[in-house]
Amino acid sequence: MRIRPRQYSCLWSARQFAPCGPDGRQNGRVLRSTSRQYSYDVVVVGGGHAGCEAALASARMGCRTALLTLHLDKIALMPCNPAIGGVGKGQLTREIDALGGEQGRNTDRSFIQIKMLNTSKGPAVRALRAQADKRLYEDWMKVVLSRNPRLALVQGEAAELIVSRETINGVKLADGRSLRAGAVVLATGTFLQAKIVIGDRSYAAGRVGELPALLLSTSMRAAGLELDRFQSATPPRIDGTTIDPSRMLAQFGDDGDLSFSHWGTPPARRQLPCYLTHTTSRTHEVVVDHLHLSPLKSGSVSGKGPRYCPSIDRKLINFPDRDRHPVFVEPEGATTQEMYLQGLTTSLPVFVQEMIIRATPGLETARLVRPGYAVEYDYLPPQQLTLALQTKAVHGLFCAGQLNGTSGYEEAAAQGLMAGINAALYAQEKPPFTLRRDQAYIGVLIDDLVTKGVDEPYRMFTSRAEYRLLLRHDNACDRLSPLGHSLGLINDEQLGEVMVRRRSTDDLRDMLESTQIRSNPESDALLESLGSTPLAESQSAGRLMRRPEVSLEAIVDLLPLGPRRMFEAAPAEVIERLAIEARYDGYIARQLAEIRRHRATENLVIPAPFDYLRVEGLTFEAKDKLARLRPDTLGQASRIPGVSPADISVLLVHLFRALREAQAADEPSGGSRDRPATCS
């Protein structure tokens, strides 16, 4: 085999190829738009899921915003599974929507299947998942971005951060232009110093066929930011006309009018099926036989990959006893016949990928269209960020998305939205906007990232939220839309809708609580038929509903005519929420009490700068970690690995004492002792 030496390292160079004359002319033609400066309030670097949300949030909050992207024809691309939602992730998308973000709406414009997961399980783990048409998702997002009157879309490569005195001033483009802004959001995804790998071969590319961003990493390091390597991978795509659906289990979407967005009417839509199959011992043999060719083994990938989205090679290494793994064959859209093989993520050589596919039931004659591959890229260890996603090293510089070491479109969009909001607030000289762990999954996500850091690409799960009974997909609006409204991302009409829905839920609950059900032969018979015990004495319908075996719908006949009419007129989502809140009333109350107890210390702000070395009684490790990570609040400090509850007590005492001393200094006459010490 011939091996040709090639120089890929100089794919992009920022040198001036032909300097202009003094009159700005080059080869007789006026050179416009080079080395010119444009000024904005906020500049967003990156046009993926984080970048789109950041740019829209900033523009909608009134900031003149530029979105800079390497390729304007690749906005909001879904390079992996064109699916939005799932357990944990679906809640994030609902929260994005409730705050005034775009991901939920854009999914509704483009989905080809939608379903509610875990309907038989508890309400905390119920979540929506939709399969989108990947091309339509891009097109509709581009429509939204291009129609915003304050948003400029700019194609170009960010070459350099303009930083002076630890403060961001804008971004310099490789083509010579400068976009000046007081706030910059970096959402570069997997493009920094990116490398694509299959088997033992690799080349520099951000996504398949696209040039990577080779310049920005250097500038970020120069600004004092540390970068590390992660990797991610995507499975092969096949031609959907060559599969055998009769050998697989068809999986359909839910009937009815499900939608991610809270706003507008859900689309009435025909849906396309997905198919479920599984790997076989033959598949496993193929993988094991060729494991030596895996980039995992050959060492051509050095970055850490996502544990919860492992490649098939990794799954066989970690679970040698499992004789089969599920494979979901999912359509990539209405615009294409291509199908995605969820569960067969691999970067083994292409001929092995074909063998793996053909050893899978239903895919024996499937034709490979796009080989799977791995991508390795620079990420920014997120402990360098504040809760507002601002870098601690450079004022006004915000980071979001896969750059911060996460995986998934939902995690990216959630961070993008928050970074966009905070960049806009920073530009407008307003205090930052953060969400607590008890308010939103978005709060959990960002707190986890900036407090604990990541040692593999981070993915959201319901188990990461300690208050998940409160953070449900059905109450995202109640929790967040008033906040979105105060930011200017939710309009009066939308807030009105939320209020009406909340009020009708409360009214219905009050009505049920005040409606007494008498013990009589009719009610006894009905309760017995439901497997419940008859009433000993009169009880309110509200209390009766708390019995796990009794549903609202089942006891509707026992209600008097007035309340029954009210119940029948209520929308389905109101009844669902009412049922959840009634059934889990006790747990929810307990979580709320716990939150109130915690909040006093959780939100105690640690003044910056703060000299941890001066605090007596802290362990050496705690001093080191705290000084390095500089947490914003005591709650954040308590979640840093290596900081013990004892350290937190020491810190708490120290902070209270400092606070009292400060107050005493302010008011020498005293009398301020009873003032609450928290800042919440």
Partner: protein, 457 residues
């Protein structure tokens, strides 16, 4: 930077030789592959990034070298029905009568992929081709031709067609930046160039300029539109799709229509002929793309706050001539062509120099962009838009290599009859020329493949 493994080229066990591999899934590659598959050949269409399949890379204008409508119509008629439909449906005709089509680029890309997937003997494959070589038997006789991708995958065919545009030794220059690649942001075909040079193929340098674009919300566009109100050449567009969707009798025509509308009608009729035979209609009940949605519905779908967003349907009024596709003017005072409904960018062609010049029978003058390199704007009240006069995409130059001295327009002589070329890399200029060369090459190859089988090759 490139990791190259020690293992040799890899081939799937039991892999077979296909009739033709087309390398490059742009305008000419798609036309060639579609015509081959429509003629019964087994084709693998390879693209380095399949999401860009069929994307017209250089702006929305389809013009004829002869400057005649007949040429445009003739080329469109020569396309396989399934592909003709894509181009005609995405096209608008300028009311001024200038012989050009304005296509929605994104619509052409999405619909080309969809249409070509309907052809059962055409198979897509993603991969950047790095090598091409002829395989000969023990006595030196031609057996097959192989291509190898950057991932080490080897595919084999009886003929290979190169449709790689300017990716051979391509350089893109944007302002102070220079990068490799045949199209902005895409990877170059470096290995393929080396393979062709090693075989002694003659490569000739060419240069192309790609116009700049501005967002539809840019003051540059607004200014151009307002100043155009006084000029005679300001002109609307007749979208062919509207005619196909309307109740107009396509075959009968109507003499009261403007000349442009009559052209649009003829184009629509050329598609309507084959409506029953193709299956490109949008599937019922599935989400529609923006390019199949009316502009007013596109805006309604945005669900924006009417008070804040001047582009929402309620507030569109003043800017209707910009936002409603039916009336999108071909701007003549400063030529700006709409790039498509999803992108909402406006393209300024490159060929304009001097104070005024002729562009496809239209007298135009170059776009004037106010120089704002002076003091920076500040974000004061009363400034609803920021520096939106930034070009969304800068004017840039692409240098590349094209194959010189091709036999009968398509065959690369150094590879016997194994390697062919279409589109830009074969010297074609513009979309129309690329489409024509793709179809023409396919027809020659179909005859050749038939001869092969007649002689038992």
């Amino acid at each position: 930077m490139v990791g190259r493994g020690q293992a040799g080229p890899e081939r799937a066990p039991g892999s077979t030789t296909t009739d033709v591999i087309v390398v490059g899934a742009g305008v000419s590659g798609c036309a060639c592959a579609a015509a081959l598959a429509a003629g019964g050949a087994e084709v693998i269409l390879m693209g380095s990034a399949l999401d860009a399949t069929g994307l017209p890379g250089h702006g929305p204008a389809v013009t004829a070298a002869s400057g005649q409508w007949e040429e445009i119509e003739e080329v469109l008629r020569s396309l396989p029905a399934i592909l003709r439909r894509v181009w005609v449906e995405a096209a608008s005709v300028p009311e001024s009568g200038a012989p050009m089509l304005i296509v929605d680029r994104r619509a052409v890309s999405v619909e080309t992929k969809r249409a070509l997937e309907q052809l059962h003997s055409l198979h897509f494959r993603q991969g950047l081709v790095e090598d091409v070589r002829v395989v000969r038997g023990p006595t030196g006789e031609f057996q097959s031709v192989e291509v190898e991708t950057i991932f080490g995958e080897v595919l084999s065919a009886r003929r290979v067609v190169l449709a790689v545009g300017l990716a051979l030794g391509g350089h893109v220059r944007v302002g102070a930046q220079e990068m490799e690649g045949g199209r902005y942001g895409e990877l170059p075909a470096t290995g393929l160039r080396a393979a062709l040079e090693t075989a002694g193929a003659i490569l000739t340098p060419v240069e192309e300029e790609v116009g700049e674009r501005y967002g539809g919300n840019s003051p540059v566009v607004a200014q151009a539109f307002s100043s155009a109100a006084h000029t005679r050449t300001n002109s609307g567009l007749v979208p062919v799709r509207r005619l196909l969707e309307s109740a107009i009798d396509l075959a009968g025509g109507a003499s009261s229509l403007s000349p442009a509308a009559q052209v649009a009608l003829r184009l629509a009729a050329s598609v309507a002929d084959s409506l029953e035979r193709t299956e490109c209609r949008w599937p019922d009940g599935l989400p529609p793309p923006p390019h199949r949605t009316k502009e007013s519905d596109v805006l309604a779908a945005l669900l924006t706050d009417p008070a804040r967003d001047p582009r929402s349907p309620q507030a569109a009024g003043a800017r209707e001539s910009v936002t409603v596709l039916d009336k999108s003017p071909v701007q003549a005072a400063a030529l700006l062509l709409p790039d498509g409904i999803a992108t909402d960018e406006y393209w300024s062609p490159t060929a304009i120099s001097g104070p005024t010049c002729s562009y496809n029978s239209m007298m135009v003058r170059p776009l004037a962009v106010a120089d704002n390199s002076g003091p920076e704007m500040t974000s004061g009240a009363g400034a609803p838009v920021g520096s939106l006069d930034v070009a969304s995409r800068l004017r840039h130059k692409v240098d590349g290599l094209v194959l010189g001295s091709l036999d009968s327009g398509h065959r690369v002589p150094q590879f016997g009859c194994a390697l062919w070329a279409v589109g830009r890399v074969s010297g074609a200029k513009g979309y129309l020329d690329s489409l024509r060369s793709g179809v023409d090459c396919a027809q020659r190859l179909l005859r050749l493949l038939e001869d092969d089988s007649d002689h038992g090759v």
